[in-house]
């Protein structure tokens, strides 16, 4: 007896090292996977931030503009029509000529004018609109440089500065202005205040952001109540039969359907059949509702299922009706899970492009949308559009927009975590 015991222990000891080795290996696999994931994340972020950080600054040039009435062709500064039609670009050009008096010749002057963004005229117009008495005076203001100049100024410290379409003379002027402090890098407010534009230096993501916001609002308002109600019915009321099994299988299937199919469905139903206009956040929201509903229903059902049966029993035992059990106990306890599901669904909807292309939210829209029925585009579609543009300056704006989108996703997920923590009750 004692002999067999000792040999058992010997056997155990002999195998012990092997077991610990296997255990270590097992753990190492997990660490390796996490490491790989983190590496991918770091590469992604480095790439995007490396390319996109430039989008958050822009170069401005200081010009002394004389608001010359005759150049502007304004006789009466109080007349809005005259203010609207005045030749503001003319005074900007005049200012540039004054700054570089040595530049003569038609083509040289034209390339000098090209240093400043077309938006300079609007900046001058804004000054006059705000204060018509400024007519005739000289004002000093900072205006955007052209996107090529901006890109050059950002890359001039690199080994190989990006020259693009700039001529040698233009580079010389730019260098002069930088040296004298008349070209400076500033925070790119335009990116957050403007809609899309063909001119990269004037292009912003506000239109797309608002579009995304309106679209998500519609999606949330529709998909959360519908999803929760559907999940509640299926979990609490629906009889278990072939028909509900069929519904369940189909909901699970819908969750896996490629999003472009929902776009085609939206195109067929909302636009072709109901004849709604294209490019609306309303239609986009409806399409994304169709897309996120399965996700919300599935996660809500899981959340409802995870409410301990003892709580239901307790409530039923006290004589609560079914609705009271659901409203007072099941839904509050399932709420954190349902909200998490909803926010994951929303995050998915925020990043969705394909279905929105189908319903025309890919259009080039400059105006900022004011409501869910104004044509708009959304952030991911804006990224898609910019990534297609040839100008170098759009490349960094693409990455910049991606950073903003990622920022919003992180924000939403943080809110989801915080909400869950706040609402979660222990039992």
């Amino acid at each position: 007896m004692s002999k067999s015991t000792s040999s058992t222990i010997e056997l155990v000891n002999k195998n012990l090292k092997k077991r610990y080795r296997a255990e270590k290996r097992f753990r190492a696999y997990g660490i390796l996977s996490i490491g790989f994931g983190l590496l991918c994340l770091v590469v992604l972020f480095t790439d995007i931030i490396g390319k996109g950080h430039g989008a958050f600054t822009a170069h401005y040039v200081q010009i002394e503009v004389t608001l010359n009435a005759s150049t502007l062709d304004i006789r009466d500064a109080t007349d809005p029509e005259q203010l609207a039609l005045a030749d503001y670009q003319g005074v900007v050009k005049e200012a540039l000529r004054t700054r570089f008096p040595e530049v003569t010749g038609r083509s040289d002057r034209r390339s000098l004018y090209a240093l400043v963004s077309n938006s300079a005229g609007f900046a001058v117009q804004d000054i006059l609109k705000a204060d018509p008495t400024k007519l005739g005076s000289t004002v000093s203001l900072w205006v955007l440089v052209d996107d090529d100049v901006d890109t050059y100024a950002k890359s001039r410290d690199d080994a190989e500065p990006f020259i693009g379409r700039l001529s040698e003379k233009q580079i010389e002027w730019v260098e002069t202005l930088i040296a004298s402090g008349e070209i400076k890098s500033r925070f790119n407010r335009i990116l957050f205040t403007n809609g899309d534009s063909r001119e990269p230096e004037m292009a912003g993501i506000r239109g797309a952001l608002l579009g995304s916001l309106y679209t998500l609002l519609v999606t949330l308002v529709l998909s959360f109540p519908i999803g929760v109600a559907a999940a509640m019915y299926l979990e609490e009321y629906a009889p278990k039969n072939r028909f509900t099994d069929f519904i369940e299988v189909n909901i699970n299937n819908l969750a896996a359907v490629p999003s472009i199919i929902f776009g085609l469905l939206g195109l067929a139903i909302f636009i072709n059949f109901f004849e709604m206009p294209r490019s609306l956040p309303l239609v986009g929201g409806l399409v994304l509702t169709l897309m996120t509903l399965p996700t919300i229903i599935i996660s809500s059902r899981a959340a409802i299922k995870s409410v301990p049966p003892s709580i239901r029993q307790a409530a039923y035992g006290l004589g609560a009706s079914k609705m009271q059990v659901i409203l007072h106990h099941v839904l509050p306890l399932a709420m954190p899970g349902m909200l998490t599901g909803a926010i994951i669904g929303m995050a998915q909807a925020l990043g969705e492009t394909a279905p929105l292309l189908m319903i025309g939210m890919v259009a080039f829209i400059v105006d900022l949308p004011g409501s869910i029925t104004d044509p708009a585009t959304v952030l991911p579609v804006q990224i898609y559009l910019w990534s297609d543009s040839p100008e170098r300056a759009f490349t960094e704006r693409t990455s910049g927009a991606i950073m903003v989108l990622l920022g919003f996703l992180i924000l939403m997920n943080t809110v989801a975590v915080l909400l869950r923590r706040k609402l979660e009750r222990r039992w």
Partner: protein, 273 residues
Amino acid sequence: MTTTSGIQDVPVNGTVGEPFVDSAKLSMRNVNVFYGEKQAIFDVSLDIGSNEVIAMIGPSGCGKSTFLRCLNRMNDTIEGCRVVGSLNLEGEDIYGAKLDVVPLRARVGIVFQKPNPFPKSIYENVAYGAKIHGLVSKRTELDEIVETSLQKAGLWNEVKDRLDAPGTGLSGGQQQRLCIARTIAVSPEVILMDEPCSALDPIATAKIEELIAELSENYTIAIVTHSMQQAARVSNRTAYFHLGKLIEVNETEKVFTNPDHQLTEAYITGRFG
């Protein structure tokens, strides 16, 4: 071991002892319960008198909990559960088409095996039943119900300073007394207890047993228990269930000293369980 199976195979022809009483609060006749195809309760007939404590004992899976849960239709929530037979609460058919389970459960409360307070405050736990049944109209009346219920459950002195604390933060025994307070806050006539002490330590168990004795003055109590000592301590009558059949019902003292049926004797002497 062979004797055990021998005893378990003893044919059962109806219930021995005195299953019926004169002034029955609850009276059940020929109750059969099915879970899908499987029959869990066979032809059980039993009366529960007013203000008595009746203990239901028997080996695991004998159907005593199932039977208890029929009395306030808690079995309704179980899929595929079917109850056949006549069950009456003061002459009202518990499974009748006209009966509404909501008032039924207000009259017949239940305390479960595992303490299951709501993840809310102590106050909210006790007040919940009164609130949903609309028993009170003013906050002060609600306060009063909460206080008297907690007092009756012997918990008031321990929790009066922290009524806003979560009910789930109490100890197991306190939680169970909270559940009892929650049940009596609705002023039921009958309290069903489904192994209320099986998750508790001996001290908490003793407190609950004391409480049962006090409550029996005002309430009719049916208690399912695995502990024969507990049955002997708290109950007036004891019903012994075996494989879904009601074998014997007698005065508790008689059951534990001189049972009529040999199965009961085998069980209380520990020959199987």
